[in-house]
């Protein structure tokens, strides 16, 4: 590969604009411009600026461009806005094809048809994020390596043209060695690293802030990688778990290892008489919930059990699961996420229709009903069929929607001394059907009992470490880049004068103040901000 040898003797890679060692302008086009030097990336040889032949070069150049990066960011930004116009799919409680049109009319329908109901999970949104990821990698590599090399190769003594064309520059003809010594002391006191060569001086500090952007990009890449890990099966568990009070349920996705017993669900609200401070606010809002809590016990299976056999369980711990206080074990977390009240049992009385006299009561558990209830004296009731969540199916046959007793219905056989073979009755809420003619007895409804059911979210996220690590590295990088500045001050003897030039990657105001402070009490002239001088000239004219 062609390399460029500078007059100072340093050999630069092909494509270098400013000599890595002395800063002499190597690129002829840059040479012709009479203005200030473009100091971005130290004028180093970036791959994207040097090669543009093969397809790899073209892809590389595309993604290494800041302009492309900014466009990707802006497109993602606009897409993200679109997703907030209407609620996303996960926040609605109806099927999306119904919900959007019903709630928002034609606009909602269009929103749904465009796929915006699941915008953040759409292939094109993920593609945008992926492209940002690629851009992060290529942009960083394209810049950080040549920048590192250039900053490492820099020498103290610089080319005249380089110094003259720095934004902050000034010369002094009358000076003493004492002045230079004083300035050096001042610079040291301001924690500058000082290097000297042939009576020239380079004071530098905060170079590590130049790596800030690249460090934060690494953080972001790790973060995005963490987001991708979630798509690997087993890395990410997110299941709902409903457990009724007093019952024990298998915790899903734990390899049938863990069981959760729900002893009690507690719902507390603020009491305006007790919580006096909040009196007004409670009056305005009506009721404010203070606490959702499930008192649970966690069990672990002790030994392998045969299918059908009750597993042997050992208690691991007791815990009060509240919002903000999940139960954690073995990489899993169990969150209190909701609750509901469920029917637990129904009480009926077997009644003679004519005399309206009851011959006995029976309470039927809706979760686990018995098939036979003996009421004594020759009276008994059998449950022939039970539909916990009753509906008529497509064939107009009675069936059940789910196992949750939302709408229980029964087919009873009522046995009495008068009717020892039994009478059949179909009983649902607010309706009774006697399919085989008029019965002597009926099941009259006496009451219901409800029970609380706690809704939990079972979560295991094995990608969290990457998310956390990415976040930490990002923060370090962004602080490194934002709160420190890379400042360099060159104080060099040229043609019997002292030349002062300075460069910073940002915060020029701070740099100029620092220079002023450092050359205080010396004969040296304060260097001029050439950019500002230029502007003022223009504004003046």
């Amino acid at each position: 590969m062609e390399q460029v040898k500078c007059e100072c003797g340093h050999v630069n890679p092909h494509g270098t604009v400013l000599c890595e060692a002395c800063g002499k302008v190597l690129d002829e086009q840059e040479e012709k411009k009479s203005q200030l030097l473009d100091m971005r990336y130290e004028g180093s040889a970036r791959r994207s600026q040097t090669y543009n032949k093969t397809i790899v070069d073209k892809i590389w150049n595309f993604f290494s461009s800041v302009k492309v990066g900014v466009w990707l960011i802006v497109l993602t930004l606009i897409a993200s806005i679109l997703g907030t116009i209407l609620p996303q799919e996960m926040y609605i409680n109806l099927p999306p094809e119904v919900y959007y049109e019903q709630e928002y009319g034609w606009f909602g329908k269009m929103y749904y048809q465009l796929g915006f109901h699941d915008l953040y999970g759409s292939w094109w949104y993920l593609l945008l994020i992926a492209m940002i990821g690629v851009s992060l990698v290529i942009c960083s590599l394209d810049r950080v390596i040549p920048l590192y090399k250039a900053l490492k190769a820099q020498r103290v003594t610089r080319n005249e043209g380089f110094l003259k064309r720095q934004r902050v520059f000034g010369t002094t003809s009358n000076f003493s060695d004492h002045d230079l010594k004083l300035v050096k002391e001042h610079l040291k006191a301001k924690r500058y690293q000082i290097r000297e060569e042939n009576g020239d001086l380079l004071a530098e500090k905060g170079r590590f802030s130049r790596w800030g952007p690249y460090v934060n990009h690494i953080g972001l890449i790790i973060f995005l990688f963490g987001g991708m890990l979630r798509f690997i099966p087993g890395m990410y568990v997110n299941e709902d778990l409903w457990v009724r009070e007093g019952e024990t349920a298998l915790v899903p996705e734990t390899g049938e290892q863990f069981y959760l017993k729900n002893n009690q669900f507690i719902l507390q609200t603020y009491d305006k008489n007790k919580d006096k401070t909040f009196e007004e606010a409670i009056e305005r809002a009506g009721q404010v919930v203070k606490n959702y809590q499930s008192n649970v016990e966690l069990y672990q299976k002790k030994s392998e059990s045969l299918p059908g056999e009750e597993p042997k369980l050992e208690k691991v711990k007791e815990y009060k699961v509240r919002v903000n206080h999940p139960l954690t074990f073995d990489g899993y977390s169990i969150f209190q996420s909701s609750y509901r009240s469920e029917l637990n049992s129904m009480t009926f009385s077997l009644t003679n229709k004519q005399t309206n006299q009851s011959v006995g009561d029976l309470t039927i558990s809706l979760v686990n009903p018995k098939s036979h209830y003996d009421l004594g004296n020759g009276y008994s009731v059998e449950i022939i069929e039970y539909f916990p969540d009753f509906e008529f199916d497509k064939n107009k046959e009675p069936s059940t929607k789910s196992r949750v007793p939302n709408n229980p219905a029964f087919v009873f056989r009522m046995i009495s001394p008068e009717k020892p073979e039994g009478e059949t009755s179909f009983v649902a809420i607010k309706q009774t059907i006697e399919p085989f003619g008029e019965n002597t007895y009926k099941m009259s409804f006496k009451g219901i009992e409800t029970k609380n059911v706690s809704g939990f979210t079972v979560r295991k996220d094995s990608s969290l470490w990457a998310i956390i690590l990415g976040g930490i590295i990002f923060m370090i990088g962004v602080v490194q880049g934002a709160y420190w500045n890379h400042r360099r001050i060159w104080i060099q003897r040229k043609n019997g004068q002292v030349w002062i030039a300075a460069h910073t990657n940002k915060n020029w105001y701070g740099l100029k103040q620092e220079i002023e402070a450092c050359i205080e009490n010396t004969e040296l002239n304060i260097p001029v901000d050439q950019l500002q001088a230029e502007k003022e000239e223009q504004e003046g004219a």
């Binding site: 473009d38 971005r40 800041v66 302009k67 990066g69 900014v70 960011i73 802006v74 993602t76 930004l77 993200s80 806005i81 997703g83 907030t84 116009i85 996303q88 996960m90 926040y91 709630e103 928002y104 009319g105 953040y120 997110n238 603020y270 919580d275 401070t277 909040f278 007004e280 606010a281 409670i282 305005r284 809002a285 404010v288 919930v289 203070k290 959702y292 509240r322 919002v323 903000n324 206080h325 999940p326 977390s333 969150f335 996420s337 979210t457 998310i467 976040g471 990002f474 923060m475 962004v478 602080v479 934002a482 709160y483 940002k506 915060n507 020029w508 105001y509 950019l531 500002q532 502007k535």
Partner: protein, 395 residues
């Protein structure tokens, strides 16, 4: 304690208000010493008033914290007030870096508007719902607000840049949009004025209406209804019959408030224009003649650089940690979360655009303005209109 707290906030508000006069004075006074940036007597008084006001507001914050037993950042009033305080705090910090009182002249009115806006919301101390009962409430919300406040300083600096940099001698797109910003600020004042007037008059009128699920309901307006609810029937005698009524999926009451605020804003704006006899931004121009464009550009850029990491930490990272504990996932595409991401993406784009040469100075100043609009959108529109999981903040 709660009473003391309100008084301290009121004192802070008055002090901020008075400080503006002194900031104005500090700009008007001719500087004897052009070279050195030294604050004159007016400026020193202005900054002192600001600091005393800030301490008073800090007193409000602490006493309210003691009364409520949780950091007062849990509803719209508290959060917005805190944001105003953070803005003043951020200004004080930036002032001691750059020593320019002009920044105060532009920042303090914005801070005052924000605090005034905040006080239009219910001011009672509210109890915390279970999701908010976490020390992350204090950490996440305060850090996010401080980050946004520092970013807002770049808006103030950007505004100074635009007021100085844009040629006001002829009408142009630029003068138009700058005037739109000025009008928006006046419109906030309009909202505050209209709300205060109707609330002082204790205005109420009631409607029966039909909501989007065809249920009949009643709705209480605290401003005369220009915009009526869906199939609304006025129940209050002597109330105003609405000029138009809107479909059920639009919140008529909120829209009515917006319309009233705009009317208030337009009236105020017209009065201001009649007094000034020129655009507001043109009238402000003489105030900024002594500042260098480069200098305000740097303040604007610097505040983004300082604010961006704080915002990331507070509004994204701390938010994710807390969301993971309270809602069982660190990210759930809730509108407020998305808008925090949008804000973050915007400032990320801003920082990248500064890398390419063309985006210094005026373009960068416009970007700072847009950034502030996004922050305000997240504060106002997302809480009040889009809602979602953070909807507690809309009360």
């Amino acid at each position: 304690m709660a009473g003391l707290s309100s008084n301290l906030l009121f004192i802070a508000f008055i002090l901020y208000l008075v400080s503006i006069l002194f900031y104005g004075g500090s700009i008007k006074e001719k500087r004897a010493n052009q070279g050195k940036r030294e604050t004159n007597k007016w400026g020193k008084i202005a900054v002192s008033l600001t600091i005393i006001g800030f301490i008073a507001q800090l007193g409000y914050f602490i006493t309210r914290w003691i009364a409520a037993k949780h950091a007062p950042v849990s509803n719209m009033f508290e959060f917005t007030t805190f944001f105003g305080m953070a803005l003043v705090g951020a200004f004080i910090v930036i002032y001691f870096i750059y020593r320019t009182t002009l920044l105060g002249l532009f920042t303090m009115p914005v801070a005052i508007l924000i605090i005034a806006y905040a006080s239009m919301f219910p001011r009672e101390i509210t109890p915390l719902i279970p999701a908010l009962q976490s020390y992350w409430l204090h950490i996440h919300v305060t850090t996010a607000a401080i980050g946004e406040a520092i970013l807002a300083i770049s808006f103030a600096a950007g505004l100074i840049y635009l007021v100085k940099g844009i040629d006001q001698s002829t009408r142009s797109k630029k003068t138009f949009w700058l005037e739109v910003i000025m009008f928006s600020l006046v419109a906030v004042l309009g909202f505050v004025a209209v709300s205060s007037i109707f609330s002082a008059a204790d205005y109420h009128e009631e409607f029966s209406w039909v909501d989007k699920h065809d249920n009949e309901a009643t709705l209480d307006y605290s401003m005369p209804a220009l915009i009526g609810p869906h199939e609304g029937q006025l129940l209050t005698e002597g109330g105003l019959n609405p000029l138009v009524s809107v479909p059920a999926f639009i919140n008529a009451k909120k829209l009515n408030t917006v319309v009233w605020s705009l009317i208030g804003g337009i009236v105020l704006y017209v009065i201001i224009r009649l007094v000034l006899r020129k655009r507001i931004s043109a009238a402000l121009q003489p105030l900024v003649k002594n500042i260098k464009l480069d200098f305000v550009d740097e303040i604007s850029y610097r505040s983004v650089l300082i604010g961006f990491p704080v915002f990331t930490l507070g509004a994204l990272i701390f938010a994710m940690i807390w969301a993971h504990m309270a809602w069982s996932r660190f990210w759930g595409w809730d509108p407020k979360e998305v808008w925090a991401l949008i804000t973050w993406l915007f400032y990320a784009a801003f920082l990248h655009l500064r890398l390419s040469k063309g985006w210094h100075g005026e373009k960068s100043a416009w970007l700072a303005v847009v950034g502030f609009v996004i922050i305000m959108f997240n504060l106002v529109a997302v809480n009040l209109v889009i809602a979602g999981l953070h909807s507690y903040a809309g009360s």
